[in-house]
C-alpha cells in the first residue's frame, strides 16, 4: 500500500529538510498557531516518506508544500471542522474588485496598520494562495499543483484575496467569525 520503493530515508532528509522552513511557514499561516503548525509539519514529514513515489525530481519544494497542505486539511477536519468552508460564492459576491474606487483602495492600504493581521483574517482558501504567491513566490502553475486547483481558480482566488485586503477595514464584514485560538 505504501511501499517505500527501496528508497533511502536519508534521501528524504536531504529532500525535505531544505524545505522545512517553507513548510512550517505555510502551516503556521494556515493554522495560525505555533503548536498546531508543528503538528501539521511533523505529520507531513511522515507522509513525505509514504508519498515518495509522487515526487517529481525537479520540484521538491512544491511537492513538500502540497503534502503540508494536505496534512493541514486533514488536521483541520479533525480539529476545527467548523472552519472547513466550501462556499466561496458568498465571498465572491462581497468582493468585486472593479467596484472598489482605486484611490480609496490605495488609501486603505496605507491606513492598514497591521497587514499581517488582515492576512491572518482572510478566509482560508484565499490566505493559502496569497501566502504561496507572496511569501513562497510560487508561480501560478506551482500554486495550482500545490492547492490542487486549476490555474484559473488560482488567479481568481488571488484576485479576491487582494481585493479583500484592499478593502481591509471591511474585512470583518465578509469574514466568518473566527473560532478557536488562532492568533
Amino acid at each position: 500500500m505504501h511501499d517505500n520503493g527501496g528508497s533511502d530515508p536519508r534521501r528524504f532528509e536531504a529532500l525535505v529538510m531544505p524545505h522545512l522552513d517553507a513548510g512550517y511557514n505555510l502551516a503556521r499561516w494556515l493554522t495560525r498557531d505555533v503548536h498546531d503548525a508543528e503538528d501539521v509539519v511533523q505529520d507531513a514529514c511522515v507522509r513525505a516518506i509514504r508519498y515518495a513515489a509522487t515526487l517529481r525530481r525537479d520540484d521538491a519544494r512544491a511537492w513538500f508544500l502540497a503534502i503540508v497542505r494536505n496534512a493541514f486539511y486533514d488536521w483541520l477536519a479533525r480539529n476545527r471542522p467548523a472552519e472547513v468552508v466550501h462556499d466561496d460564492d458568498a465571498i465572491d459576491a462581497a468582493v468585486d474588485d472593479a467596484a472598489v474606487d482605486p484611490a480609496r483602495a490605495a488609501e486603505r492600504i496605507a491606513d492598514l496598520r497591521d497587514l499581517a493581521d488582515a492576512v491572518a483574517a482572510l478566509p482560508l482558501q484565499f490566505r493559502e494562495v496569497l501566502i504561496l504567491r507572496e511569501l513562497e513566490e510560487l508561480s501560478y502553475k506551482e500554486i495550482a499543483r500545490v492547492a490542487a486547483i486549476p490555474v484559473g481558480t488560482v488567479m481568481s482566488r488571488l484576485a479576491r484575496a487582494r481585493a479583500l485586503l484592499r478593502r481591509s477595514p471591511l474585512l470583518s464584514v465578509v469574514t466568518r467569525p473566527m473560532t478557536g485560538s488562532g492568533r
Binding site: 505504501h2 528524504f12 522545512l20 513548510g23 512550517y24 508543528e38 511533523q42
Partner: protein, 253 residues
C-alpha cells in the same frame, strides 16, 4: 483595451504571469487611463508591503530536530522481506511448491504489514509525546473517553479500567495507523506514558507479541474482537503483560 480587461490583467502582470502581448497592451492602457494606473499602483504597493511586512516563520529548532529523528526512525525500520522471488520459484518447482511459496509469500506480506504498523505506531507515539499532543480528550473516566472515541470512529473501542493493576487512564485521541483512524487510549504508570492503539481485529493477522524499535517497546494482544497495540518506553515484560491484561479485561465484558 477596456478597463474591464485591464483590471483582470493587472494582477497577472504584477505576478509576472501575463503573456507578453497582454502585458504590452496593458502598459499602453495604463499610460492613458488614470483609474487603471492607480489600480496598478495599488496592486504593486500591496504586493510590496506583503513581502516586506508579513513575517516568515522559520521552523523551530525542536521541530527540525524531531523531523531528523523521524527520518532516522524510518531508517531503522526493518526492511520488507522480498516476496516475489519466492513466488516465481514456486511456479517453477511445480504445484506443491507453489502452494508452499504462496504461504510463505502471504507470511511475508503479513510480516511486512506488521513491521510497518509497528513502525507507524512508534512514530505516532514519539510524535505525540514530543509534540505534547498525546491527548485530545483528557479524562480518567472510561465512560467519558469511550463515547468521545465512538463518536469519531466507525467502531466503538472498549476502554478498560486498569487502576487495579496500577495503570491510570489519562485520556484518548484519534490517531492514524495503517491509513485509518484508530482509537488511541493513553495510560500512565509512574513516569511512563503508554499509547494503546485499539482497532477491530483484522483477519489473517498475527503480529509478533513483542517488538522493540528505537528503544520503544510495542506489545500486541487480541481480545474482544480487537487488536491491542501498546507502545511505550515501559519495560518489555511489563508492557506485554499490560497488553494481555487489557485484551483479557475487554474480553471479559
Amino acid at each position: 483595451m477596456k478597463c474591464k480587461d485591464a483590471v483582470r490583467l493587472i494582477d497577472a502582470a504584477g505576478d509576472g504571469e501575463a503573456r507578453r502581448l497582454d502585458a504590452h497592451s496593458l502598459k499602453r492602457h495604463l499610460a492613458t487611463c488614470r483609474d487603471c494606473a492607480a489600480r496598478s499602483a495599488a496592486a504593486a504597493a500591496l504586493s510590496a508591503r506583503l513581502r516586506a511586512e508579513l513575517p516568515r516563520h522559520p521552523a523551530p529548532d525542536a521541530l527540525r530536530a524531531r523531523s531528523r529523528d523521524l527520518f532516522a526512525t524510518m531508517q531503522a525500520a526493518p526492511r520488507a522481506a522480498p516476496r516475489w522471488p519466492w513466488f516465481a520459484g514456486g511456479v517453477a518447482a511445480g504445484c506443491a511448491a507453489t502452494l508452499v511459496a504462496w504461504f510463505v509469500g502471504t507470511a511475508a506480506i503479513d510480516m511486512r504489514d506488521n513491521a510497518d504498523v509497528a513502525v507507524e505506531a512508534v512514530t505516532s507515539h514519539v510524535r505525540a509525546t514530543l509534540g505534547n499532543h498525546l491527548i485530545q480528550v483528557a479524562s480518567s473516566d472510561q465512560h467519558t473517553v469511550k463515547p468521545w472515541l465512538s463518536a469519531r470512529l466507525d467502531y466503538s473501542p472498549p476502554v478498560p479500567d486498569m487502576r487495579a493493576d496500577g495503570f491510570t487512564l489519562v485520556g484518548g485521541r484519534v490517531d492514524y495507523l495503517d491509513g485509518r483512524p484508530v482509537a488511541t487510549l493513553v495510560y500512565r504508570i509512574r513516569d511512563h506514558m503508554i499509547d494503546v492503539y485499539v482497532r477491530p481485529q483484522l483477519p489473517r493477522h498475527a503480529p509478533p507479541a513483542l517488538t522493540t524499535l528505537r528503544g520503544f517497546n510495542v506489545a500486541h494482544a487480541s481480545g474482544a474482537d480487537m487488536d491491542w497495540l501498546a507502545v511505550s518506553d515501559l519495560s518489555a515484560d511489563a508492557l506485554a503483560a499490560f497488553a494481555d491484561a487489557l485484551a483479557h479485561d475487554a474480553a471479559q465484558r
